[in-house]
């Protein structure tokens, strides 16, 4: 089965030595740079990316070609491309894997994308914890430069590009694009007010595009094969393939490149992908797109409220809105079996958001702390029934009231956990002695899969 699947990003991932320029080049690497700078105009590259329909793979899912088309091009002002490799969304580790495994794919993507946008200096911002990946990328850049694919007058085309890797300092918020730009300017990662958007005033107040690692890594294939070929994969507005970071109680956790449009059921249970839930256990719930997206119970994850098979697409996962659906997000797919405590996990996530709030907007700064406190007391047997409604109330007051989406990201996991697992919260409150026993897990009327 797997041999028939089109792999756009990972086809060569298993080749020994693929992290070196020599091997990467031998397997067709950097042909997209040759094609772009020698035979295409920058606008023609933008056009192919638009046709591909590829959407931002960092989580927002905004069409990349459209984002590129917003870039302001005032005369005499430098433009920048900044790659977002800050990957910090709990459940997501695909960019980490991609950068360490096939570093040249990202470098090649940065070159063709920078060419398309008219950027002569570009940055790859990588979360500081991945310093070993920073070094892998720097080595790859040096190799590409030595071979004439970076630097002055690339392949005699007259196009110049310098590419640098910038480490972060440990802050989830820097995955938000304007916080990332602040950080790249040597400041605290406080998100900026928008507008102006980075496309008009970004890095150093110059027009800037910020794209995710996986998004940029699709561009060599799109240049080589055309946007239409990319758009032929997938369903509807979910075109192409997507890297899914699979974690939790699966037989085979890991990073998988799936064609968008396979069923969620197939992704979880097929041997081609995750191979099912670990032996002797059953699926209870899934966070399908990184910790920020609404958690769904197994039944609603596998089938929509209308009883249709749920697909791995932006649209199908969102079917039913937040009442019964979720989001594809970053593709951080966290599977939880019946041994998982939803209250404990929700408390864990709320602690994460409290820790990572930059503190700029009071609804987020204060609200995330309150949610963590209330969830802590419910999980530890000191909650009251009123606390459940209090959590919903606080989450509603954060949502939509902050400069950046971290507030929403903190509110959704709490609101959705209560929406779908309210009885489990009530059990913690009604039977605190039972619920706080080590290893105790709610065994109520839960529909497992």
């Amino acid at each position: 089965m797997s041999s028939e699947r089109l792999k756009i990003l990972t086809a060569n991932a298993d080749i020994p030595g693929i992290e070196t320029f020599e091997v990467y080049r031998k397997h067709g690497g950097y042909t997209a740079v040759e094609k772009a700078v020698k035979t295409m105009t920058p606008d023609a590259v933008v056009e192919e990316v638009k046709k591909s329909g590829v959407r931002g793979r960092g989580g927002a899912g905004f069409p990349m070609g459209m984002k590129w088309s917003f870039l302001a091009k005032p005369e005499g002002v430098p433009r920048y491309l900044v790659c977002n490799g800050d990957e910090s969304e709990p459940g997501t580790f695909k960019d980490h894997w991609l950068m360490k495994t096939i570093p040249h794919l990202l470098i090649e993507g940065m070159i063709v994308s920078s060419f398309a946008l008219g950027a002569n200096t570009s940055y790859i911002y990588v979360r500081g914890e991945l310093m070993y990946v920073v070094k892998i990328l720097e080595k790859a850049i040096a190799e590409a430069k030595a071979a004439g694919f970076l630097g002055k007058n690339i392949l005699g085309s007259g196009y110049d590009l310098e590419l640098y890797v910038q480490p972060g300092g440990g802050a989830y918020i820097c995955g938000e694009e304007t916080a990332l730009l602040e950080s790249l300017e040597g400041k605290r990662g406080n998100p900026r007010n928008k507008p102006p958007f980075p496309a008009v005033k970004g890095l150093y107040q110059c027009p800037t595009v910020v794209n995710n690692v996986e998004s940029i890594s699709t561009t060599p294939w799109i240049v080589n094969n055309g946007g239409e070929a990319y758009a032929a994969v997938g369903i509807g507005r979910s075109t192409g393939t997507k890297l899914i970071s699979a974690s939790g109680h699966l037989k085979k956790p890991g990073v998988y490149e799936i064609p968008l449009g396979i069923t969620v059921n197939e992704f979880i249970y097929s041997d081609e992908w995750c191979g099912g839930i670990r032996d002797g256990h059953h699926l209870k719930a899934v966070v399908a797109g990184g910790s920020s997206v609404p958690i769904l119970p197994a039944a609603l994850l596998l089938k929509t409220a209308n009883g249709e098979d749920r697909l791995m697409t932006y649209e199908s996962l969102a079917d039913g809105g937040f009442a019964t659906g979720t989001m594809l997000g970053s593709g951080g797919f966290i599977a939880m079996d019946e041994t998982s405590c939803i209250v404990r996990n929700t408390w864990n996530f709320s602690r994460f958001y409290h820790h990572e709030s930059c503190g700029q907007c009071s609804p987020c700064r204060e609200g995330t702390g309150w949610m963590e406190k209330v969830l802590h007391r419910i999980e530890h047997g000191h909650g009251s029934m009123h606390d459940i409604d209090l959590l919903v109330d606080v989450s509603k007051k954060i949502e939509g009231n902050t400069i950046c989406p971290l507030g929403d990201a903190a509110a959704w996991p709490v609101a959705s956990a209560i929406r779908h697992f309210r009885d489990e919260f009530e059990w913690h409150i009604k039977f605190p002695q039972e619920a706080t026993r080590p290893g105790a897990v709610y065994r109520g009327h839960m529909e497992l899969a």
């Binding site: 430098p78 969304e89 580790f93 960019d95 500081g128 802050a171």
Partner: protein
Amino acid sequence: MITEKPRIQFTPERLERAREILTHYPEGKQKSALLPLLHLIQEQEGWTSPEAMDYIADFLGIKPIEVYEVATFYTMYHLEPVGKHVIEYCRTGPCMIMGGEEVYAHLKKKIGADDGETSPDNLFTIKPVECLAACGWGPCFQIREKYYTHLTIEKVDEIIDELKK
């Protein structure tokens, strides 16, 4: 004339690296080097002391407060002295549901230090951190640049015993 020699400065190799980093940014935007330079001085000194921050401020020609506010915002800069090995373990959801709680409890017991503490022999400091982007390979921790994944109690014993040698 009295000139005060700074108590902290880059070693010659790191000075060269620092100067190379400054070339990454356009003229006048050298403050962009702040995070990389803080990593560099911490790698050298073991932690990010006030003196180290002042040195970086001086190096970049910016005010010390511009360094302090950044060093305190990000989690990777150790603002207090640490042990020889800093173990930063991931405490976020995916690692915790994969047995992180038991593994990390064992780790702390074995080392004899709790969250944020340094072991009596000054060999290890333990810091809980948020998601390390290794969720499918958890539980995990990192020591400096190295990731240790798929941790079990037995594996923790092996790693710590090896580092104690």
